[in-house]
Homo-oligomer: 241 residues x 2
DNA sequence: GTCTATACACAGATAGAC
DNA sequence: GTCTATCTGTGTATAGAC
């Protein structure tokens, strides 16, 4: 799968996000018209991502946010009760979106090698499509309350466990080598993270997200794959699609 | 090399750091006695690292710092002119320390494979020994002024170029495979970074820094090493020490 | 729903006694 | 060198007109 295909499928879901934000917080905000709320939540979120990328959430003042959105302070507070709640809304919303996408693209009945490739690619592609959110979550997690931090950690563990399970199944089937699968999973996650934390670097070097994902796959497979078994299953050079 | 050996060598240099901080900033601070300054700079730096790890530098107030160090606000301002200058001092000092250590442990005349192993290990070991500083630099880099950010980036490029050079030399000698060495270097850096960004995770799982460094090496070598050439050079199983 | 004006708290920083 | 007390700016948040 290439990034463009992924993006197309994703976009068909994407428009729902801000409607969800409105509906989930309907009781706590003063805005009643869905159309207005959706339009402005999008504007607010985008501005938060921009400013936070430049100087961090703590350093962002409500006046920064006001001037970037062209909304007054008073208006902003009609959409959320406090700066801290805004942080919490962004986190919650992003988290639920991520989970949905993963569930949609993951098929536990595929053979392990295919699952491994798919999980790695989907994670990198998703972090490309929603880079502001991934970056934001990583950098601002420490500003969350206890509950929020727990949610971030549980997500981290969830994706790691997914990888471990795939690697173990593959090992049992003789496709993957015997390794410390938990450590392998952590290192794969580190490579995925690299993409959204340092994207400016790859942009400068004209490395596309497809290039990067393929390289991560190659790196990972050279370590995990049982070469004998693979030769047996794929006698021609169809490996790597 | 094991972490313990590395740490012993490092400690013999380490005691100098706070004396350097004093001497380099002697003109800008009101404290005149070296002994007092050194003792308190150490206390201040440690407190900053602790608090920043919990909530970030922006969110740290001078009053937080005051109560954590048991020094009054007035006293603190005898050691630096402003909160921003404190940030700058910490960054500058750490940067110069890192460069010294790298220079001390890197021998460009060693064979490429040995250099690769050494650079990877030294980086991980150093980030273990000075984890608060590495973590601080990564998370707080965006709060620096233009000059400071440029320094961080140049350090990042410096270590990456070191790796690229080693991989190229090795390829020419037939020890390493032909790869996109710049991408390989970036991914190695991502694996190194994982250690100091997520150290709590490995502590929980009882993975030591030696375990982790060895795993990174194994991972990297399975991708980079030219298996034929290695067999030729090391007919027995002495590989990996 | 959005605005301006403002309350109130708390941050960084300094003065000056000891 | 260190302290307490205090100044001053700026941040979050709200009240109330439109």
């Amino acid at each position: 799968m290439k990034y463009m295909e992924f993006k197309k499928i994703l976009d068909s879901l994407d428009s729902e996000i801000y409607r969800e934000v409105f509906q989930e917080n309907q009781d706590n905000i003063r805005i009643k018209k869905e159309k207005t709320a959706v339009k402005n939540f999008e504007k607010i979120f985008d501005a938060v991502f921009q400013i936070t990328y430049e100087k961090g959430f703590q350093a962002m003042t409500m006046r920064d946010l006001s001037s970037r959105t062209n909304m007054s302070l008073g208006s902003l507070y009609a959409y959320f009760a406090s700066k801290e709640e805004l942080l919490s809304i962004i986190h919650r919303q992003g988290g639920s979106m991520i989970k949905n996408v993963f569930a949609k693209f993951h098929n536990p009945d595929d053979p392990p090698l295919e699952q491994l490739r798919s999980v790695i690619k989907v994670h990198i592609f998703l972090s490309e499509a929603s880079r502001p959110w991934f970056y934001f979550t990583f950098m601002e997690a420490k500003n969350l309350d206890t509950e929020g931090r727990a949610a971030v950690l549980s997500m981290e563990e969830h994706t790691e466990n997914m990888l471990v399970h795939i690697l173990e199944t593959g090992e049992q089937q003789g496709v993957f080598l015997k390794r410390n699968h938990l450590l392998t999973a952590s290192i794969i996650k580190a490579m995925q993270q690299e993409w959204y934390l340092k994207r400016w670097k790859y942009k400068k070097r004209k490395i596309s997200v497809d290039d990067y994902a393929d390289y991560v796959l190659e790196f990972t497979e050279s370590f995990c794959l049982n070469a004998e078994q693979v030769k047996y299953n794929f006698p021609d050079n169809s490996i790597g699609q």
